[in-house]
Amino acid sequence: MEWFRFFASCRIVAGKYSSAIYDLDRSVIYDLPNAFLEVIREVEVMPLEQMPEKYGPARYQQIKQFLDKFVEKELAFYTTSPECFPDIDLTWEKPWHITNAVLELDDTASYSFDSVIKQLNELGCQAIQVRLGCNFSTSQATEQILKALASTQINFCELMTPHNDITAAEWISLMDLQPRLRRVYVYAAPDDAVLYNDNERYGRKIVSFKKDIRRENKEKIRLERFSPNILSFTEAQSHNLGLNRKVAIDSQGYIRNYISHPATFGHVNEHLLADVTTQPAFREKWFLPNDWIEGCKDCQYRYTCVSNSDIRKENDKYYKTEMCTFNQQDNTW
């Protein structure tokens, strides 16, 4: 007997108004109108042979064609041994206390960048984003930022800099010197442009955009920013993808869950990151997945959405303080 099965890496995420299929291997999201959900659920628990009887020959033909489309798209397959294809265990576990950090830096020298990097390294941090609030020359960037990263396990560094006269070529030579520097974002620039993009070499990129992040630090959620994969999908089941295991330090040296959040958890000169980031109060929002948040819990993008909005609680319900512009009912952004 033959059965229809989606690959375990192709996941249907049902939304209230519309649904999606995440292809976790290829990082693609397909729209799936809710009208199809019921039939998909039915056919997964019924061998093909029983379908003509259940649906009648004409409807069976339609359904079979529909299923064939998924198989053609390589999202699903037919098998005579469905028992051999267990689902993926969606438990998420990582051996790092902190995975990402956002660090604001300007000329006020409010905190020791070196000490923060050392502490982050101890906590297992893998990636940092450094947001420069003022102009740094390339030699300042090397001396004050990139040197600190040498011999740490932080292997991904993103730099955001105000527009200045440093050329893309100069940034690239900096990337050559310290390969951990993978991305440079030039903000408050005259144009939105991709200045350099080398996927082959550690996914290096230099991008400029007009927005001035010093004035507007809210990030816009857009469909193009979603790239589902097994790691984020499992994490999103029980954690807030935008906030989990992240820490931010603002230009004054205050520790936050994220740079745009109003709550602070002490000053990094007075407290160790290891102490602050293990406090239940600091971690609370890590464990608020979109499934628990009003609006988001109905959304088909809830297991890939990277919104790092603050979350507030009202009458035992959770809300994002920065809701996205996605209109679920009309499926428009």
């Binding site: 890496s9 291997d25 290829r26």
Partner: protein, 327 residues
């Protein structure tokens, strides 16, 4: 303390170490090349009372501190010849170099033997690479299905073999490939290729030793990561598009999903690994369209990340736990 023997730039080692740190398990990593470095090189001592060793250097470790060993890989390098540089022109120079590298090799082997007699070892010192055909014979003897295989120098025998079924050929050894340096360097990597009648025609009556195997009518490639009696299996739908049909390593974008092997196949795998005295390794199988589970090979130090990540098996954590349970 967990002792890890590995080599530089070995991502799986780094990931297991992350877990050991997270689980607060003390560990020491020694790269194969460090063992030759006088600053770190272990010292062995044998007397009528005891056999002992200790690692030197900053993070020194005594045999009694070591509770488990993970033998991941072992990068080696030629002996340091600085001290004999003045002999370079001498006719016997190469013999001296050879002598020194053998001295290193034996010291290392003795160290491994001492560790193995003292602590639990994950991995195998002596079997970081295995003879594929030996393993195939072993697998067949344990009761696993294996592909019909011919190793020959004769076209006549090859012809008869090919008359029975379509065949493929691949290297007998784990060849890294050959680089041919002409105007520019061209790399010829080693992979599996189907032998066509045209190819057969072009082959001389006698040729160098070559491996031929029946071409399996593949439904799935299966990769099994084996750890201390447990099988973590991934199915690779390598038939997704024409390109990957012969050798899935040539192209990405297959579908990789968790797979549950039948219990009797898992039992045979355990039997084979026990027979080979391996407590970890990666095994390759093919499931054919007719439902055969055909064993291809085992790699004692294979990369397992490509199984662990898509199936979310958390193998790094499982290895770290295995090591810490014995710590």
């Amino acid at each position: 303390m967990v002792l890890i023997i590995s080599k530089d730039l070995e991502p799986s080692t780094d990931k297991v170490i992350d877990w050991l740190r997270y689980l607060k398990v003390p560990f020491r990593r020694v790269n194969g090349t460090d063992m030759l470095n006088p600053g770190h090189a272990p010292t062995l001592q044998v007397s009528s009372k005891q056999a002992d060793m200790h690692f030197n250097g900053e993070a020194s470790a005594a045999l009694s501190d070591i509770t488990a060993v993970w033998y991941r890989r072992d990068g080696s390098k030629p002996p340091d010849t600085q001290a004999i540089a003045s002999l370079q022109e001498a006719g016997y120079y190469q013999d001296v170099v050879h002598h020194l590298s053998q001295e290193n090799a034996i010291a290392k082997k003795a160290l491994y033997a001492l560790l193995a007699s003292h602590t639990r070892i994950l991995g195998s010192f002596s079997k970081s690479s295995v003879n594929k055909i030996e393993v195939l014979i072993n697998a067949q003897q344990q009761g696993l299905d294996v592909p019909a295989t011919l190793i020959t120098r004769s076209k006549k025998e090859l012809q008869a073999f090919m008359d029975a079924h379509p065949i493929i050929t691949k290297a007998l050894w784990e060849s890294p490939g050959i680089t041919i340096q002409e105007e520019k360097a061209t790399n010829y990597t080693s992979y599996t290729e189907e032998v066509t009648p045209d190819m057969l025609q072009a082959i001389p009556e006698e040729f160098f030793y070559s491996l031929f195997q029946e071409k399996l009518d593949k439904e799935l490639d299966l990769r099994v990561f084996y750890l201390d009696g447990d099988c973590y299996t991934m199915a690779i739908f390598s038939q997704m598009n024409q390109q990957t049909k012969v050798d899935f390593r040539k192209y990405a974008n297959n579908r990789n999903v968790p797979y549950q092997l039948p219990a009797d196949i898992e039992q045979l795998i355990v039997k084979l690994m026990k027979a080979m005295q391996l407590n970890t390794g990666s095994l390759d199988f093919v499931k054919t369209r007719t439902g055969r589970y055909v064993f291809l090979e085992v790699n004692p130090v294979g990369q397992y990340d490509m199984t662990s990540v898509p199936c979310n098996y958390q193998l790094d954590k499982k290895i770290a736990q295995y090591l810490s349970q014995h710590a």
